[in-house]
Structures are given as structure tokens and as C-alpha cells.
């Protein structure tokens, strides 16, 4: 097989794959917000309420409750 061909094919596949992933990601972000599953904007608070004493936005203990 020609190295050039593999190169081109791998490149094309990667581009398409990543484009799909990226769009999937956008859809995922908005859909989970719409459905009320998760509000991504709340993570912005992590920079603001960052004292050791302030409650975490998502404590580690809740790990099991909503894993998906």
C-alpha cells in the first residue's frame, strides 16, 4: 500500500470523526441543559466560590448518584 494513500485516508477519517464528535458534543451540551439533566453554566461558579470552606459545585461523594 502506498504510504500517501494511508496518510490521506487516515486524515480524512480523522477529520470526519472529529467533526462528528465536535457536533455531537455541542448537541450534548445544549440538550442536557434543555432536559434539565445538567446545567453547564453552573461550573463557571467554580472560579468564583473557590474558598476551602465554600461547598463544592459538585462534591466528589455524589459520584455514584449520577454517573451518566
Amino acid at each position: 500500500m502506498d504510504a500517501r494513500l494511508i496518510q490521506g485516508a487516515a486524515y480524512l477519517v480523522l477529520i470526519i470523526f472529529l467533526t462528528i464528535v465536535l457536533y455531537g458534543y455541542i448537541m450534548h451540551l445544549y440538550r442536557s441543559e434543555k432536559k434539565g439533566k445538567r446545567n453547564y453554566e453552573k461550573y463557571g461558579k467554580m472560579a468564583l466560590d473557590d474558598e476551602l470552606t465554600s461547598p463544592p459545585v459538585e462534591p466528589l461523594e455524589e459520584n455514584e448518584k449520577e454517573s451518566k
Partner: protein, 487 residues
């Protein structure tokens, strides 16, 4: 549940901040000096061979990139990392030890490497000049940082990683990969048992070496001058202004966009060289696409200030950060323009390129590190910032410096590029090379003055920081948002 005695531990962050200031002054000082050398060549001889332009130029680039910028990155990492993960370094003796070891190894390693450059030990590959023993030290330093990152993540209280963390992790991985591959070299002493023990020879030859070098060189810019600086601004701008990021979703998207696109753009350093044509074109195209994620981040930062633009007037730190985002936008627009083949034909090898680099480094990297360290200073020392006025003056002085720098280099670069290709009516070259050098004298002078302005500002920053540490009024508790400052 919380132990009230535990507080964030800023020891290592503080140390790295001192180092950032020290290396900042040193690196920029050398930069200004060699800028003057280009305008007034007699200055080359003040310290014999040790002050020749060619000797000092790698020193300048390495100290600002790996001294100043990395110190700034780590100062903020050891600060931001704890805060967004909500865990103190004081909670782990091990991580504290790793942090301190990281600092000392880095400090001593960088000093030794800088001295080795002065003594002519260099591999000549730009931004990777250090000889092989220093490369090994760099790897060790990097591993220590990795332990620090993932160790702190391991004991975190906050489940989800804040966007800044993503960028720090990407910096860690990106630089690790690039640095390793680009510095593959064979120490000649180990093979033959003779000659200088520090000498090595590159694993790659010619065009391959160039490809690896610029794949590295370009992305070193990505992962030292862009990615970690975005990590900083995503924390410090919201924190200082009290406004959450305009769109957290946009920040996530820009992250993946940047990760994917950046690496492909390295080919734009090799346009019209002997690397395969398709790679040059790819470099060109991806550089243009790169505008999207870059502007995504930058606009996200600017929009964070939506409705709060009043702060821009009152708070000099906000000024620094907003202008940093603006310069980021400028630099990420300028870069793709220079990557277009026809523009590159003109711009490559000219002073427009250093001009472009300094838009990014002075405006974006420098301003962001200055703002971040001044934001941290009141938290470090429990004192208010010594002088708002000094910060204001510094801001305007440095901004003027940057404008002088890039405007003079634009003119110089385009002038020189046009003169190299100019022909007379018979189609012969119109200018000899030296004509294209002497014509640049006024621009070189202007550039050096611009640099001097910026350096003066850096000294003011150091003074302000020192005074904040020693003589400023104490505050009872850590400020939540805007950093307190005395008039």
C-alpha cells in the same frame, strides 16, 4: 466536615512568582539590549564575545519563554489548582514536597542551562537549544509537575474539573510530547568516548529535522504561550471581576477546537521550503481555521465583562486582562494572515515575524502573567496592593511600548520584504542586501525604545509587588473578588 485550621498553602506559588519577576526582568532586559544592538552595533562589544547579538538572542528567547513564562504558569498553577479543586496543598505532605522539589530543580536547572548557552553550548534548534543533559533535567521537572497535577486531582473535593484545569492538563501533555520528540539527540561522547561530553547530534537530518523542529516550535508556542495563559485568564478574569465566564459551554468547545486544530498548523513555518507541498498547504489552511477556537476563547473572555465594563475604568488588573484578550485576538488574526502563502512569501524571514511574536508575548502572555501575579499578591501576603496609580502608569507605559514595537516591526518587515523582491525596469534586483538593512535603522531604534518602555513597566511591576509584600496595609481576610489596592 471542613477542618477550619486548613488553609490554602501558597508557598510554592509565591516562590514561582518571585522567579517570574526575576526572569521577567532578566529576559526582557536582554531583549531590550539586543534590540538596541541591532540599531547601534557598537553595543555588541560591551562584554566581549558574551554580548554579541548571536550569543544573547537564544538567551533572550529561552529566558522569557522558559524562565518568565513557565514560572508564571507554575505560580498560577500552584494557586489556581488548589482553589478550583478545593483542596489545600497543606493536606498532603507528599505533594508539598513535590512542589518544592519542582521549584528548586527548575530554578537550578534553568540557571545552569542559561549559563551553558552563554558558554556556546547549543543545539541551535530554536526554543530547544539546551544540550542533552539539560533536556533530561527538563524531563524530570516536567514529571514532577505531572505528579503535582494528578496528585492534586487525586485528592480533590470538587468532582468536575474547572476549564482552567483542562488547559493546564493539556499544557502538561502537549509540551511533554513535543519536547521529547524534538530533542531526540545522540550524545556523541557516549557513542565514541571522545570530544565534549555535552555535545550531541540530532536524530533527524535536514528536512526531517526542520519538520520536527517546527512541528515542535509552533506547538511550543501553542502549549507554552497560549494554552496555559488561557487557563489563567479563565480563572483570574472571572475571579477579579466577580462575573462567571460568559459561556461555559463555549469555553469547552473552544478547548477541543484548539486542541485539534493547533497541531496541524505547524507547517506554516515551512512554506516555500523543501517540505512536501501538501503539508505547507495544510499548515496554511489550518492556521486560518485556528482563528475560530482562538476567537471563541477571546470573545468568551471579553463577553464575561458584559454589563460590567465600568470595572475596566476602576480596576487596572481588569484593564490588563481585557487588553490581554484583545492582543490575543490581534495575534491570532495576524498569525493566520501571515500563513497565507502569498503573504508568507513576503513576510517570512523579515521583522514582521518577531513583531507578530511580540504582539502575543508582550500583550497577551506578559500582561496576563502580570495581572495574575498582582491578583495573587494580596492573597499571598494578606496585604492590599501597594499602589493602584503605579499599576495604571505601568499599564499605559507598557501598552505604548507594545504599540511602538509592533507598528515599527510591521513597517520594517514589509519594507524589507518588498525591497528584497523589488526589480528595476530591466528586471534586475533593485537593491543589494545591505540596502535593506540600513533602511531599517529608524525602525530598529523605535522598536528598542518600545521595548524599553515595556521593560520600565516590568520594573514598576517588580517594585509594586515588593512593596505589596513588605510595606502595604494589612487586610483582615482574603478578598473575595476585586483585589484591594491603595490609591
Amino acid at each position: 466536615m471542613q477542618n477550619p485550621a486548613i488553609e490554602y498553602d501558597y508557598t510554592v506559588a509565591r516562590w514561582f512568582s518571585y522567579l517570574a519577576i526575576l526572569f521577567g526582568i532578566l529576559g526582557m532586559g536582554i531583549g531590550v539590549w539586543i534590540a538596541f544592538e541591532l540599531a547601534f552595533p557598537e553595543l555588541n562589544y560591551v562584554a566581549g564575545q558574551y554580548s554579541l547579538f548571536s550569543r544573547l538572542r537564544p538567551l533572550h528567547t529561552n529566558i522569557v519563554a522558559y524562565g518568565f513564562t513557565l514560572s508564571g504558569i507554575w505560580a498560577t498553577w500552584y494557586y489556581v489548582g488548589q482553589r478550583v479543586l478545593k483542596v489545600s496543598m497543606a493536606e498532603s505532605k507528599f505533594l508539598m514536597f513535590v512542589g518544592k522539589l519542582h521549584f528548586w530543580l527548575y530554578f537550578l536547572g534553568t540557571l545552569a542551562a542559561v549559563v551553558s548557552l552563554l558558554l556556546r553550548y547549543t543545539t541551535s534548534k530554536e526554543y530547544a537549544q539546551f544540550e542533552w543533559p539539560f533536556d533530561i533535567v527538563v524531563v524530570l521537572i516536567w514529571v514532577l509537575w505531572g505528579i503535582s497535577i494528578f496528585g492534586l486531582i487525586g485528592i480533590r473535593r470538587e468532582k468536575t474539573l474547572y476549564i482552567s484545569m483542562w488547559y493546564y492538563i493539556a499544557t502538561f501533555l502537549g509540551v511533554a510530547m513535543l519536547y521529547l520528540f524534538n530533542n531526540m539527540e545522540v550524545p556523541t561522547f557516549l557513542i565514541t568516548g571522545m570530544g565534549d561530553p555535552l555535545h550531541s547530534v540530532s536524530m533527524y537530518a535536514g528536512t526531517n529535522d526542520a519538520m520536527v523542529q517546527w512541528w515542535f516550535g509552533h506547538n511550543a508556542v501553542a502549549f507554552v504561550f497560549t494554552v496555559p495563559i488561557i487557563a489563567m485568564i479563565y480563572y483570574f478574569l472571572p475571579k477579579e471581576s466577580g462575573q462567571p465566564v460568559y459561556s461555559y459551554k463555549l469555553s469547552l468547545l473552544s478547548f477541543w477546537g484548539l486542541m485539534f486544530v493547533y497541531l496541524w498548523a505547524g507547517g506554516h513555518h515551512l512554506i516555500y521550503s523543501t517540505v512536501p507541498d501538501w503539508m505547507q498547504t495544510m499548515g496554511s489552511i489550518f492556521s486560518v481555521i485556528l482563528i475560530l477556537p482562538s476567537w471563541g476563547s477571546a470573545l468568551n473572555m471579553l463577553l464575561t465583562m458584559k454589563g460590567e465594563w465600568g470595572q475596566l475604568k476602576e480596576n487596572p488588573l481588569i484593564k490588563f486582562m481585557v487588553l490581554a484578550s484583545t492582543f490575543y485576538m490581534l495575534a491570532t488574526l495576524e498569525g493566520p494572515i501571515q500563513s497565507i502563502k502569498s503573504v508568507n512569501a513576503l513576510a517570512h524571514f523579515t521583522d514582521w515575524i518577531p513583531g507578530h511574536v511580540h504582539d502575543g508575548t508582550l500583550g497577551w502572555v506578559g500582561f496576563m502573567i502580570i495581572a495574575a501575579i498582582m491578583h495573587m499578591a494580596p492573597r499571598f501576603f494578606k496585604r492590599e496592593i501597594y499602589s493602584r496609580k503605579l499599576l495604571e502608569i505601568q499599564f499605559w507605559l507598557q501598552t505604548t511600548g507594545i504599540v511602538l514595537y509592533f507598528s515599527s516591526m510591521w513597517i520594517a518587515g514589509i519594507t524589507q520584504g518588498m525591497m528584497w523582491r523589488a526589480v528595476d525596469q530591466y528586471g534586475n534586483l533593485a537593491y543589494s542586501f545591505i540596502d535593506t538593512v540600513t533602511v531599517l535603522h529608524p525602525y530598529y531604534t523605535l522598536r528598542a525604545i518600545g521595548g524599553l518602555f515595556y521593560l520600565t513597566g516590568t520594573f514598576m511591576w517588580a517594585y509594586n509587588f515588593f512593596k505589596t509584600m513588605t510595606a502595604s496595609r494589612a487586610i483582615e481576610k482574603e478578598p473575595q473578588f476585586a483585589s484591594p489596592m491603595a490609591a
